[in-house]
Symmetry: C2
Subunit: 311 residues, 2 copies
Amino acid sequence: MLKSHVTAFAPASVSNVACGFDIMGFALSGLGDRVTIRHDAQPGLRIGARDGNPPSMPVDPELNTAGPPVREVAKWYGHRGGLVIEINKGLPIGSGIGSSAASAVAAAVAADALLGGRMSKTELLACAIEGEKIASGSVHADNLAPALWGGFTLIRGYDPPDVIPLRCPRPLWCALILPDVEIRTKESRGLLPASLPLSDVIAQTGNAAGLVAGLMNGDYGLIGRSLQDRIAEPVRRHLIPAYGEMKAAALVAGALGCNISGSGPAVFALCADEVIATRVVRAMSLALEAAQCRHQTMISRVDGTGAHILE
Amino acid sequence: MLKSHVTAFAPASVSNVACGFDIMGFALSGLGDRVTIRHDAQPGLRIGARDGNPPSMPVDPELNTAGPPVREVAKWYGHRGGLVIEINKGLPIGSGIGSSAASAVAAAVAADALLGGRMSKTELLACAIEGEKIASGSVHADNLAPALWGGFTLIRGYDPPDVIPLRCPRPLWCALILPDVEIRTKESRGLLPASLPLSDVIAQTGNAAGLVAGLMNGDYGLIGRSLQDRIAEPVRRHLIPAYGEMKAAALVAGALGCNISGSGPAVFALCADEVIATRVVRAMSLALEAAQCRHQTMISRVDGTGAHILE
């Protein structure tokens, strides 16, 4: 029987992950966006009305990150009928935890399931990338890949996209702080250095390689030592209130490492277990309160599931 | 019973390994240097006479890479007696397969065994680094670590040296070409760019992270895709006759990847098995013969043992 509609969920994600600038990300448990794709008598693509979404969410399908992925999936299937995209945003927009990627991935996964369910994750990624271009102005997939695959993912390169899931044999928890300040991904990218001194390149590659080895070996110490960044943190930390104080508080409270999530303003701290993550997020929150900055806090296990169909 | 002398062996090694510039290396089976450390009535440190060594090998212990490691090991034990260092070089000097590192490591390992055998690999590495400084003019350990630990090693960083052995569950073979041209490590380092464009940094970190994941998963395809370099190969390839032709021949003959070993002129190609490595080294050799460049060829399994005591 042909379905009239499909709903998919895709999780929030932390990208960059310190030394993994533009190449690594991990998915968060429980938090995410839901997207329903529905057959429609009216041809073409449109965003359906849905209460509760933030007013800043674009309703033009070519300006919403969920639009191009559905267009691309429909193209893959040669589907000519109309489709309605209903978005139920669980994630705040522009917070640095992969909100646009979650919508793009959920949309691609739902559209694929509605039209036949025959696409591979790599094919879905290629469609979802078309949505992410709207948000960031460039091709990157370090939120898309973890939202699709779940867990920790490495994107080795883009020609073609080469995604490697990195399975950690020990649990990982994430403490998250979402400061109530706005940072646009495009602006945040403008701060990045055009080039990096060779000594910093060697340090960055050493830490990226170390993080992969630490994750695959379940070596918490190595994971912690590797969570350093020479590219984005030095220039972006100044956009986040009390960043240095939050990071110091997280490390003192037992986090393995702490850094900027995506292009910020969210800040993540990786932790070995839930008790530590709870203590860490409280310590970070206190540091931000001292700077009188409003914020949300959350803790989440690093998710191993990724995007999936809900109904 | 106190020993009068100890002999240690340390293997040749390939450093840089394309994307692993300054952070990765692997040891080769069978090829290497032997160093004997002998108690001596005459105080201080000296290099003992040994036939068959290349005339370019320095006999002043402060100018030979084996000297400072022995001095540092003696200091660690508080040893005040005289020591003679007898070097039996199995590796050509300045060829790019870790000749100076093999002598430094074998010297440190032999001196430790002679004086008590209580030092850790990390402590021995710190001593061996003092020898490598003579050869390269800077602190690096991407030949020392594989010579000490064996197999593939990652040096995440230097403060303090953080060595991570990377065990590949599938066999790896190495085809090696040693062209008969001289490249000095110090000069070769002078060619390196002072900085790298951000897009190249991202590609380099992606490939370094990909190589670690490929090795640990035993994923030959991923190892091959990751063996790319944006730092040294673009500037150093011109120092090696017929480099492009050799690399193309190696890949056509079935190598996973091919790049410059250390700072050259040696060229390595990683291969899945001995049959392929034999075919690959022949293809590379033909390419170099066409350029009328004299050279040595060898194939070797990536060694899993590292430095060890011989007697």
